[in-house]
């Protein structure tokens, strides 16, 4: 730890010099004299990027952790619901000619698909081995990918933003940030608050918590477990759909878009503690920030010890490992995750 502080100083100096290098006589002299405010702005902007990515992961992980924690179901097809959310949004937005209407309809559609999926397919997997869950839901991934190919074709779709969301806003003097990413942050925070109220303050939430702590006892007390499971799964599906439809205007809507991000969502729920929404929230923001900050500053840090070319090649490789390192550390120190749901 002791060596870290001087290293950071050297690093910050090098970054500020790096940023300053192009400053030629024609440039704004004020900026050349005070490089630090610009560096601070960059840092704030990167933190916002990390926060936005983390909150998006949270939406995906919240559904996953609910289903895993309460229903004890490993759902690999969660990423397919994310994909469906995006496809629905692109389709409905094109039909209604409104981004917001498209998003709301897509959310409802994913909820319905999720509940139908639980009733038709997943119900048969309860009480079976986790391996059966993995096999069954992996089959569902293939099914949904093929279904999407048949309905929408292989080329993918795009979802355009309305004018008021396209351009950036100036958050602080000199700090421009895409409006749409701010909208994602605000929406995800609102959803987090909604989930908190739902889980901690409502009767449904009480049942969800009871189900997470002791499923058998909850059932024995006369709670309609079937209905509870359908609702929880539908909620999880809608959250995944929301994540997918919010990503759609940033990424393209394409087959298999949920598969890579699902791995990160699993990392998040393992770090956060399976079944814990609070854990998922904190772990998701942590993973988002670490991943983004790693990508943002690792190349510059490595350039202190490596050649520029080597650094820019190695940095993406190392930064993609950081979150898995975090997971490994958490698993060693707290195998149950940071916020384990109280004992079963």
């Amino acid at each position: 730890m002791a060596g870290l502080v001087p290293a950071i100083h050297v690093f910050l100096r090098s970054v500020s010099q790096g940023v300053d290098a192009p400053a030629k006589p024609g440039h704004d002299e004020r900026e050349a004299c005070f490089p630090n405010p610009r560096l601070m702005l960059l840092f704030v902007e990167q933190c916002l990027n990390g926060l936005q990515f983390g909150l998006l992961l949270f939406l995906l992980a919240a559904g996953l952790t609910l289903v895993f924690g309460i229903m004890d179901l490993v759902n690999l097809a969660h990423g397919s619901l994310y994909m469906l959310g995006a496809y629905f949004a692109a389709t409905f937005a094109a039909l209604t000619d409104s981004f917001v209407a498209g998003a709301v309809l897509a959310l409802a559609a994913t909820l319905v698909v999720g509940m139908a999926l639980e009733v038709v397919a997943l119900r048969r997997l309860y009480g079976r081995d986790h391996l059966d869950h993995v096999l069954g839901t992996f089959g569902l991934i293939l099914f949904f990918n093929e279904l999407v190919r048949m309905i929408w074709g292989p080329a993918g779709l795009s979802l355009s933003l309305p004018m008021w969301l396209i351009l950036p806003v100036e958050l602080l003097p000199g700090l421009y940030y895409p409006t749409y990413r701010i909208a994602i942050i605000v929406t995800a925070l609102a959803v987090a608050l909604f989930l908190y109220v739902l889980v901690m303050r409502t009767r449904l939430g009480m049942l969800i918590r009871a189900g997470a702590s002791n499923r058998e006892m909850t059932g024995a007390l006369g709670v309609n477990i079937n209905l509870l499971y359908t609702m929880v799964f539908g909620l999880g599906a809608a959250l995944a759909g929301l994540a997918g439809l919010m990503q759609a205007p940033i990424l393209t809507v394409q087959i298999g878009m949920g598969e890579n991000i699902l791995i990160l969502a699993f990392v998040v729920i393992i770090i956060g503690g399976i079944g814990s929404i609070r854990g998922a929230f904190i772990a998701a923001v942590l993973v988002g920030l670490i991943d983004t900050i790693g990508r943002a500053f690792l190349p510059d840090l490595l350039r202190l010890v490596l050649s520029s070319r080597a650094a820019s090649t190695v940095a993406p490789a190392i930064s993609s490992m950081t979150i898995y390192l975090l997971m490994a550390v958490v698993l060693v120190l707290r195998p149950e995750g940071l916020f384990p749901v109280s004992s079963k």
Partner: protein, 390 residues
């Protein structure tokens, strides 16, 4: 769908009548036919089929059979499929390859079996240099060439400082090196991103904003190009810092990029409006059949079929005469849709590069248009390292 059925029928016929197979020209075609980049593979296959139809599905009087294999954009799958084509299908030629890392993995097994491999897209620097092979030909370019042309264009525009962004794999590194080779201004930032799983470029775009370059050069093939352009616009950088591209805007991605691509220049060795007869015929028939414009991936696949045809015709269908076929292919003696070109000692084309821009055609569709010739008869920088001389 019809195409798939025909392919299947050919495949079934193959199994049923091995005797007939000896009479035909057998071509293995490796490209990506599943996953998000399957649209590129489909475009290559469609163009290859159009070329075969123009040839009457015959080369030197022999029927042509094509076996399409999906590399899933993974080097380990690509090499396995290439080996299968050589060892169990015993094809006469292997064609295709979108991705440089897939081609690098697959090259050895194919050329070591003395089978000709025609790359219809990927052009890694290694194969242009030390790893060049008498059994390898390219109908595309060496990766560095196109960005080198873009670097030249940036010089012409008087750009003083630039920021380079690309994916962290063989072609991404070649592309950025290519710009460095010709761009005379200062490169004040370079970012390589995780490939192919990183789709969000917010971190890199924030760095661009902080570095304040006069220009950004970017290489993102396929859907990643759509994502990059969308996010570049959303970040507000599009109006502030001009974007220069290689292989980021093509006929497929344009359908998703739409108006965002207007005014973003790219460099290319082929554009759909090049005024030669072969190209007019290819583009017209492709559009008639599939409704949309072909991509450069398709044009290169169309050329690959015709290059092969020239070799097979030259030996009158006697495919054992490999030296004679090589000698013929070295002449590039066929009507390429990019216009005439020559081969360098490493079997990569020496060719012109054009500046392309996005415009609306007569029917209001967005399409690409040739604006100017950036460089004439450009040869890649690695041919000196290739020991092959002829």
């Amino acid at each position: 769908m019809k195409r798939i059925l025909m392919g299947t029928a050919a495949f079934v016929a193959l199994g049923a009548a091995p005797a007939a197979a000896q009479q035909s020209v057998k071509i293995g075609f490796v490209s990506t036919f599943s996953g998000p980049t399957a649209v590129i593979g489909n475009d290559m296959r469609n163009s290859f089929e159009v070329a075969l139809e123009h040839l009457g599905r015959k080369m030197a009087g022999k029927p042509v059979e094509v076996i399409y294999e999906d590399d899933q954009q993974k080097p380990e799958v690509g090499v396995q499929k290439s080996q299968k084509l050589i060892e169990s299908d015993k094809v006469d030629f292997v064609v295709g390859y979108i991705w440089s890392n897939v081609l690098l993995a697959s090259l050895g097994p194919v050329v070591n079996s003395q089978t000709f491999l025609i790359s219809a897209n990927a052009g890694p620097s290694q194969i242009a240099g030390e790893q060049c092979s008498p059994f390898f030909f390219s109908t595309s370019w060496q990766n560095d060439q196109t960005p080198q042309a873009m670097g030249e264009y940036m010089n012409q525009k008087g750009v003083k400082t630039a920021f380079l962004i690309g994916p962290n794999y063989a072609a991404g590194k070649d592309m950025l090196t290519g710009v460095r080779a010709t761009f005379k201004g200062e490169i004040i930032g370079e970012e390589l991103t995780r490939w192919p799983d990183q789709l969000d470029f917010s971190t890199e775009l924030s760095k661009v904003r902080a570095a304040k370059p006069e220009a950004v050069f970017v290489f993102y093939p396929g859907a990643a190009g759509v994502q990059f352009l969308t996010q570049y616009t959303q970040s507000g950088l599009k109006g502030q810092i001009p974007l220069y591209t290689a292989f980021t805007i093509d006929a497929i991605t344009l359908k998703l990029q739409k108006e965002l691509a207007l005014g973003v220049p790219g460099a290319q060795q082929w554009v759909n409006d090049l005024p030669n007869d072969a190209n007019k015929k290819y583009v017209a028939d492709f559009r008639k059949k599939f409704g949309n414009y072909p991509t450069f991936y398709g044009a290169q696949s169309y050329d690959a079929a015709n290059l092969l045809n020239s070799a097979v015709v030259a030996v009158n269908g006697d495919l054992s005469k490999k030296d004679a076929m090589r000698a013929e292919m070295r002449k590039a003696n066929y009507a390429s849709v990019r216009g005439p070109y020559k081969y360098g000692n490493n079997h990569f084309p020496i060719q012109n590069f054009y500046l392309q821009d996005v415009v609306k055609d007569a029917e209001g569709n967005l399409t690409l248009k040739t604006v100017a010739t950036i460089v004439k008869d450009s040869q890649d920088r690695f041919h000196d390292k290739c020991p092959m001389k002829w």
